[in-house]
């Protein structure tokens, strides 16, 4: 991608989206553990914001994930647009009553008379030897609860545009910030801009095989595509960017062209998002596929600590390339 836009990390892009949203709308505020300066969030997402907007609007909380998410829900019910930070996605397990039973359902249970326009930002580990409780990619869990929208950016550009859209969306949005991508750099348009939720992006065009993926598997898939290009295999990489809403048309458009698809994700493969997408493709393009849809997800194990085992746990570029090679 060639652009004149300034280069920023994904973390800086996230920060810009929040900064712009808070400047535009006094109802936007942030809450979470250690998000005030000088820490500015353990992943630096809110760096500088409490200094700029004050500690009323960028507020530290105790280590209380249920209270963080619940307080965000309460304020949102009367029209505020809170950005809650749950430090690591694994900690959703302790906040899940608020996420699944309240945030996701209050619009429906009230017959549309209330709604929950919150954004929950969360860091997703993986590939960094953080062990089984700091490394899970739990998007399938979120997708399975009707009422939640789920965004997983893979570039600084997408992170800024998607987060801005999440903050001003009228439904609860889970915004997953992949730790291994947080400090990768890329062009980011200055000022306000949004990427609509539910619109995938073709990160690399190709003719032979489609890789459907998101988050930190996008650069892995792109690396695999680069390798395979040298072997004469043309790979198209579709970055879904949001899982709910799911851009079904983008998936089908690409696979209709290539007739082969691999779904790659860091979530557990068994009962993972790949199963839903494989089912969609198999059903809609039955008889037009040149190969069964392949899935590559995380192994059915807690995330192991030892680097040698952890590298076997998640899909990575070599195994993605091998899977594509086998079907091309």
């Amino acid at each position: 991608m060639t652009t004149d836009d300034p280069i920023h990390t994904l973390s800086e892009a996230v920060n810009q989206a929040m900064d712009i949203a808070m400047a535009e709308d006094p109802d936007v505020f942030a809450l979470g553990e250690d998000i005030e300066d000088p820490i500015g969030g353990v992943m630096k997402g809110t760096k500088g914001l409490s200094t700029k907007y004050g500690r009323e609007r960028v507020r530290n909380t105790p280590i209380s994930e249920q209270a963080i998410v619940g307080a965000a829900i309460g304020a949102s019910l009367v029209g505020m647009r809170p950005i809650a930070e749950v430090m690591l996605m694994d900690f959703f397990a302790v906040a899940m009553d608020q996420v699944a039973n309240h945030a996701a359902k209050l619009r429906y249970m009230s017959g549309g008379r209330t709604n929950v326009p919150i954004t929950i930002r969360t860091s997703v580990g993986g590939g960094r030897q953080f062990g089984a409780q700091h490394s899970q990619s739990l998007e399938a869990w979120m997708m399975h609860i009707p009422g939640l929208k789920v965004a997983v950016p893979s570039t600084p550009h997408d992170a800024k545009g998607l987060l801005y859209s999440c903050i001003f969306d009228d439904d609860p949005c889970i915004f997953m910030e992949t730790m291994s991508l947080l400090f990768t750099r890329g062009p980011v348009p200055p000022g306000r801009f949004e990427i609509p939720l539910g619109v995938a992006d073709v990160k690399r065009a190709g003719d032979d095989v489609t890789v459907v993926t998101w988050g930190w598997q996008v650069p892995e898939a792109l690396a695999a595509a680069e390798t395979l290009a040298d072997e004469g295999i043309s790979v198209e990489v579709v970055d879904l960017r949001t899982l709910v809403p799911l851009d079904r048309d983008a998936i089908l458009r690409s696979v209709e062209k290539t007739t082969r698809a691999v779904v790659v994700h860091a979530a557990t493969q068994f009962a993972g998002p790949g199963a839903e997408i494989a089912s969609l493709v198999g059903h809609e393009l039955f008889g037009r596929l040149s190969a069964p849809v392949e899935r590559l997800g995380a192994a059915y194990s807690p995330v192991p600590y030892a680097a040698e085992l952890e590298s076997l746990h998640y899909p990575e570029r070599k195994r993605i390339a091998a899977a594509i090679r086998a079907m091309a």
């Binding site: 507020r59 209270a67 309460g74 039973n101 619009r107 017959g111 008379r113 209330t114 009422g147």
Partner: protein, 341 residues
Amino acid sequence: MTVSTTQPVGSGGATDGLTDDAALRIFRTVTTIRSTEDRIIRGLSSGELRMTYYTVRGQEVIPAAICEHLRRDDYMVTTYRGMHDCIAKGIPLDELVAEMCGKVTGTSKGKGGPMHLSDPQSGLMVTTGVVGGGLPIAVGLALSSKLRGTDQVTVVNFGDGATSIGATHEACNLAALWEVPVVFVCQNNQYGEHTKFADYTRSPSLAERFRGYGMEARTVDGNSVPAMHEAAAEAIGRARSGSGPVFLECLTYRLGGHSFGATTEYMDPEELSQAEANEPVGRYRRWLVDQRGIGEDVLADIEASVVSNVEAAVGAAKASPPPGPDELLTDVFSNVEALPR
């Protein structure tokens, strides 16, 4: 820890501030709650109505007294045993009953049900079916008032059973830390579902335990109108003036099983019959006549008008259709395009 059901109402408590008008408004509210419950139980018993129902019998006074001090734009959160709170906060009776019956004219078009009553126009923001789940949300509602610089107060109701779950403690700690205008109303009805208070905690006093979070906390006879009226005035006034949260332990007694049709065999029959003999609506009625000199005819008129309102609400609910099939996938998201296909 027992409720002072045998003491005269208002013993030792000030009745200052409870005007005849307020006293009669409270009487109308508790009578509406009782009458609605009686009518629902009758309908459930005969098969005329069908719903899940959690009795509020014995707890009517608490929200009736509290809501005397709340404005329409103050917020309230309650639990599945919360029909009394919803009526007191002002959810229109027709919409409330229709919702409980799963009808399209209900507060949530019949999609929420008795455990999920809400009506933002009345300030009743959430009814949760998860014990303790409402407290963190109430902290957020109260935070919104603080951030926006309004003087709105949030009241969150919950049973004593909710004092054993984590969300409650996270919420109370956060509310005290942030000094948000919330009143935690613990309706201590002596039972967490089917377990007696003394069988699930060694705490002698909940007010004592929650005072440890650094907030004002007190115990009040939740079955006494003057005592509740006075305690609510103080707590809500404190929150409204910006002095932070208050925890009110309102002692009461659940005059029935956990839910309609559930057994009461774990309840002490003698204690239950004594509590029934001193049940708060009848007790309040006697007090109005004996201590306040309110005429029997005045109360009878109120009761007759309430019964007729309740009957009209039930009739309207029965006549209302259920939500249509198009409602199934409506209100999942703000935009239908977001629904997976």
